[in-house]
Every structure is written in structure tokens, then in C-alpha cells.
Symmetry: C2
Subunit: 127 residues, 2 copies
């Protein structure tokens, strides 16, 4: 990656993202990285989250509720947003490749991919 050099702040951001199964917002990443690097700035967190997402090392999730969230697991997978507690959970399911075919039928452009967000009640909130 030309022109990108190591930084301990970026490393700490990656470490935190990989250590959690929550899907934290930039603000939450900031709060947690601060535990180890009290001087880190929110601007640096945003700059690095953008960089890591562009490099494909993390995923950015736009759930439509305020802030974007980030996922340290860059492997494409699907997410679930609980409309009770607003938590985002990972779903274990195979890639839905066939829906791109369905979308392409009768469409005169090129379907390159899709994003899906499921919603409902999480195991805790369904009770």
C-alpha cells in the first residue's frame, strides 16, 4: 500500500475492532482506544476507520440510525439490527448470490452486489 505507514493508533483501533463482537460506532471505538491511548483524537479515529474500510480490512455498516458502525471482520457476511435494543448481530448464513441474478433480470444496468440488513427482535428482546 503505497504511502501508508504504520501507526500505533491505527493498530489499536484494529485490535479493538477485532476483539469485540459488538459493532461499535466511531464514538465507541474512540472511547475504547482511549483506555490505552488517552491522547488519541476523534479525528484520528475517523481517519483510520475510513482508511481501513477503504483498504477492505474492516466493514462499515450503515444501519440508518444515526452513526455508522464498524466490523473488524472484513469477510462479507450479513447483519441483523434489533429494533428493540438497537444492537447489531452477525448472522450465520450463506451468501445470497442468487438475488443479484433476480435483480439483474429486467434491469438494463449491471448488478455488482448488494447490501442486506435484517431486522426484528434479538434473542434478548424477543422475550
Amino acid at each position: 500500500m503505497a504511502g501508508v505507514k504504520f501507526s500505533r493508533q491505527r493498530q489499536a483501533i484494529m485490535d479493538y475492532l477485532c476483539s469485540t463482537k459488538e459493532h461499535p460506532t466511531a464514538e465507541t471505538v474512540y472511547t475504547n482506544v482511549r483506555l490505552h491511548y488517552p491522547n488519541v483524537s476523534l479525528g484520528t479515529v475517523y481517519r483510520n476507520l475510513n482508511l481501513l474500510a477503504e483498504e477492505g480490512e474492516i466493514l462499515r455498516l450503515t444501519c440508518g440510525d444515526g452513526s455508522d458502525r464498524f466490523d473488524g471482520n472484513p469477510k462479507p457476511h450479513y447483519h441483523f439490527l434489533c429494533n428493540g435494543c438497537q444492537r447489531v448481530l452477525d448472522l450465520a448464513m450463506e451468501p445470497l448470490n442468487h438475488i443479484d441474478i433476480l435483480a439483474a433480470a429486467g434491469f438494463d444496468g449491471i448488478i455488482e452486489g448488494h447490501t442486506v440488513l435484517f431486522h426484528g427482535k434479538c434473542p434478548d428482546c424477543k422475550k
Copy 2:
């Protein structure tokens, strides 16, 4: 609808949304409604877009690129975001009910629905 009374501004917003196949942002709605009601305020546009979306008379689309967009057609349908020109187009395809079943398998919560956004090159940008 208890407590909601008619307003010509809201009517103008509905009229505009139903007159276009673009999927305008609040700002674009504002600009266009202003052609007929030069005094309308952006706050009023946002308040009414929120009201109409809650009532299910329009759809709100969160595409992850800056502003939300709105669709005067409230019937559930799928959308396509062109990564060339950023336009949002309607797709003619059947509801993907089965993917909720797939998501529910092995998930201990309740899947109530999904949002899908396809992306790629629109008919114009694929050339």
C-alpha cells in the same frame, strides 16, 4: 389519523414526490417545493417527510451516502444505487420473502423483515 390536519405544504411535498421517479433528498424536495411555495422552510420539509414516512405514505431510503432519500411510492420494492452517478433506481422484482427464512435458520431471535440495496452500474454509466 388523530391530531393530524391538512396542510398545503405537506400536500405539495407529496405531489412532488409522486411526480418524480428520482429519489430526492430532503434538500431536493425543499428546492422543488419552493418553486410553488417560496416561503416553505427546510424544517417543515423535514417534519413532513418524517410524518409521511411514519404514516407509511412514503418510503425513506438510507443509502449510506450522506443524505436519506425519499420515495413517493410506499409499496415495498427494491432499489439500486449506481456507484457511477449515485442515482437511485427502482428495480422490478418480486419480494424476497425466502431470505428471511434463510436468515432465521440458526438465529435465536425473530426476523421481521429486511432492507436490500443493490449496487453496480446504471444503464447510462455501464457504457
